[in-house]
């Protein structure tokens, strides 16, 4: 248990100590929120779909959690290249504990970032349909964070260089974001795009956030939770397995 705790704590310390990075990593979602939220607002309203800012704020929260958590897992690449990974690989504790601590730490950081961007959304004019919905939405922040931190840790256990990192950012993480319904409604999509969005795990996380915060559901609470919990469990197992197989 000590190993899980100390690895979790390490992630948190790194986060709290890099204040500049906190601001930088909030910058991108804030830009999406302001540029797209206000920019597409008139078109969206004209199409009779209401306020675009209201619609996309949960999407931007999901985006923040997605990027922060996947990134924290992939940060294993830096630990691999700069050596700290070896210190943890030769430690006499189950590697499961190491990877679990790292993943939960990354997820915790992502949840904090998600809450910060929610505050930015509220300042920008976003209003949940009920104020009680704000704490309830944390359920989905947690699930999105764990799913993608575990995905990041799985990837981080496998890739060894910056090229692999760039490749996965462009061909996995960005598509997960753009095909998730974070930026557009999933109704009446072209058929193939519809299938792809249904296969994207983030879709269910964003649907949950949007459902709770503004009361608009594409699926149901139960379905979203079931899919995310199942995925979180599966990906935690995968990351533990891949991490335990690392040889240097």
């Amino acid at each position: 248990m000590g190993a899980i705790y100390i690895m979790w704590l390490r992630e948190l310390k790194r986060y709290v100590r890099s204040r500049a990075q906190i601001i930088v990593s909030l910058g991108q979602p804030a830009l999406y929120l302001l540029a797209l939220g206000y920019g597409f607002g008139p078109v969206f309203a004209k199409a009779g779909a209401g306020s675009y800012l209201q619609f996309m704020a949960p999407g931007v929260m999901g985006m923040t959690v997605l990027f922060t958590s996947v990134f924290s897992g992939m940060a294993m690449l830096w630990d691999r290249q700069f050596g700290f990974l070896r210190e943890t690989l030769v430690a006499p504790v189950p590697r499961l504990h190491i990877v679990l601590g790292r993943t939960l730490g990354g997820a915790t950081v992502a949840i904090i970032q998600g809450i910060l961007i929610l505050i930015v959304c509220l300042i920008a004019g976003f209003r949940p349909h009920l104020w009680a919905a704000v704490p309830a939405s944390f359920i989905f922040l947690v699930m999105i964070a764990v799913v993608f931190a575990a995905l990041g840790a799985s990837i981080g256990s496998v890739i060894q260089d910056m090229q692999g990192f760039q490749f996965l950012m462009n061909f996995l993480v960005m598509p997960i974001f753009f095909l998730s319904g974070a930026l557009y409604p999933l109704k009446n999509l072209p058929r193939v795009l519809g299938w792809i969005t249904h296969a994207d795990p983030l879709t269910y996380g964003i649907d949950g956030l949007r459902g709770i915060l503004i009361g608009s559901w594409q699926f149901t609470f139960t379905l979203d939770v079931a899919i995310l919990v199942a995925l979180a469990a599966a990906l935690l197992c995968v990351s533990a397995w891949l991490f335990s197989r690392i040889q240097l």
């Binding site: 190993a3 390490r10 310390k13 890099s18 050596g83 210190e87 030769v90 430690a91 260089d161």
Partner: protein
């Protein structure tokens, strides 16, 4: 000269192949408890690969290893509890302080809370880092990082300490001081030390026995005096060149070498 306790490391017919290439070819040796044992060899001789197999990081292709009676690949956790290692590249967390690095290590190695605080203080004082304990490791010089890593390696009172080229890139003062510390702890705690180095004078000075490795095989093993006598040379360097020849070994720069340079350029750690 050798302290001559029972063998704590036994290696029999150890071999490691990577695809077509044989990095370590059928080597056998023993290291006794309390001994300081050096692996000497040119670049690419297989020293680091051997250390990786001894320390559970790499699975041997064939052969047997026993660390204090445990096979490091089968009984990984038992083996890991018994050794400390200082890698060729730093393995500290630059974003944490010296004390936090020690504490993290103590927790990973199950050092009980009370013993931990007391031992961290003693080791940090001994390695002259106590005053800097609350500074981030990324602000440390190369020599300070090495000292911290070696102090950390001793924290859980390992039976064996592996040092893979621990003095690479250090100035003579730091090298000298580092070996003094290692020798002191070797004598005080009866820790067996297994080291690799390029510097003949270091091996000559600290090691009880030396194995010379070349092209993945052990070409000679014995005390410094024995190696000199065997090759009819008057220095360990002469013996080394007599055993391994004078041709240069060009290694292709690996991606981690490139990243190491990149890291130095950007001063990340």
């Amino acid at each position: 000269m050798s302290p001559g306790g029972p063998p704590v490391i036994r290696v029999e017919n150890l071999t490691k192949n990577f695809d077509q290439f044989t990095a370590v070819k059928d080597i056998s040796f023993q290291v006794d408890t309390g001994e300081i044992f050096a692996f000497l060899g040119p670049n690419g001789a297989g020293k680091t690969t051997t250390i990786k197999m001894l320390t559970t990081l790499l699975r041997p292709t064939s052969g047997r290893i026993q660390l204090d009676g445990f096979d490091p690949w089968v009984k990984q956790r038992d083996a890991r509890q018994r050794f400390g290692i200082v890698f060729q590249d730093p393995s500290l967390d630059g974003e944490q302080t010296a004390y936090e690095n020690m504490e993290l290590h103590g927790i990973l190695y199950h050092v009980p809370h009370r013993v931990r605080a007391e031992r961290i203080e003693r080791l940090l004082r001994q390695f002259e880092l106590w005053e800097r304990r609350d500074d981030y490791v990324k602000t440390f010089s190369g020599g300070m990082k090495r000292r911290l890593e070696i102090a950390r390696g001793f924290l859980h009172t390992p039976k064996i300490l592996f040092l893979d080229e621990p003095t690479l890139g250090l100035d003579p003062q730091s090298r000298n001081q580092l070996w003094t510390h290692v020798k002191t702890l070797n004598e005080a705690e009866k820790t067996t030390v297994f080291l690799t180095t390029h510097y003949m004078d270091e091996a000559d000075r600290v090691a009880h026995r030396i194995a010379v490795m070349d092209h993945g095989a052990i070409v000679a093993i014995g005390t410094s005096a024995e190696l000199k006598a065997r090759t009819s040379t008057d220095s360990l360097e002469g013996a080394f060149l007599a055993l391994t020849g004078t041709s240069l070994r060009d290694e292709a720069a690996s991606s981690s070498d490139q990243l190491r340079r990149f890291a130095q350029m950007w001063q990340r750690r």
